[in-house]
Subunit: 153 residues, 2 copies
Amino acid sequence: MFKKRISIEQVEEGKELCPKFDEKGLIPVITTDFKTGEILMHGFMNEEAFKKTIETREAHYFSRSRNSVWHKGETSGWVQKVKFIRIDDDQDSVWISVDIGDGASCHVGYYSCFYRSIPLDRDISNIELKFEEKEKSFDPEEVYKGQPNPTKL
Amino acid sequence: MFKKRISIEQVEEGKELCPKFDEKGLIPVITTDFKTGEILMHGFMNEEAFKKTIETREAHYFSRSRNSVWHKGETSGWVQKVKFIRIDDDQDSVWISVDIGDGASCHVGYYSCFYRSIPLDRDISNIELKFEEKEKSFDPEEVYKGQPNPTKL
């Protein structure tokens, strides 16, 4: 499914899909909501996850905390149905647009993982993040009960 | 400007900015166009680039090909004026929304770096990328003349 990277022209101007995975075998992925255009999350895929995403049209990622391919929604039920996939100029990052129905995408319980902003109009020597979502979409304790939190310090 | 990461609660539910840089000192960045909401590019920042972006409200990245902080637009003139910055749940990726005026953001000459899609309704054993932008926004030979192409094979 993936072609060998041979030339810069092939990679940038061509029609061959020849993604570049980094030294850990991963490629960064941006996921947006097809309906709202909002950014839902940022993740990574390995070769297997990328292929499975194309084959099944459901988003698969590589979980760095679990060190395995992860079919998004397998626990929460909020599978991400892929509406389109784009790849960037040098084919080392991917953008997928997904339909999550009435679901959410953040393990903390918010709709988007990007629920906090950095205020730029205040004293930047003492930044206080601002919450951009008023409340959580779901209770993560209930949805992910018994599962370890993926966040690493 | 950046706080030490102490607890999962602090990172996920708190108001302290405590970004996680990877083992290379980088954090992935998604850049969208403030006016259209379109994804323009995916890049990385190191600590210095992230701080400069907040301080100057102009996007700075870390160029992996040049191994240095890179003030986007310093060659092309299309500086990215930062309209907002968001950070994700575990604070290991950043989303910036920028104003590029009438400019473009892709070194190949397109408006967005994500100018090609992977068709999902065809034979996936023989993928042919589809160009989503009809033509380039500018001539990269002219704008970046004499500079090495950043794409790596």
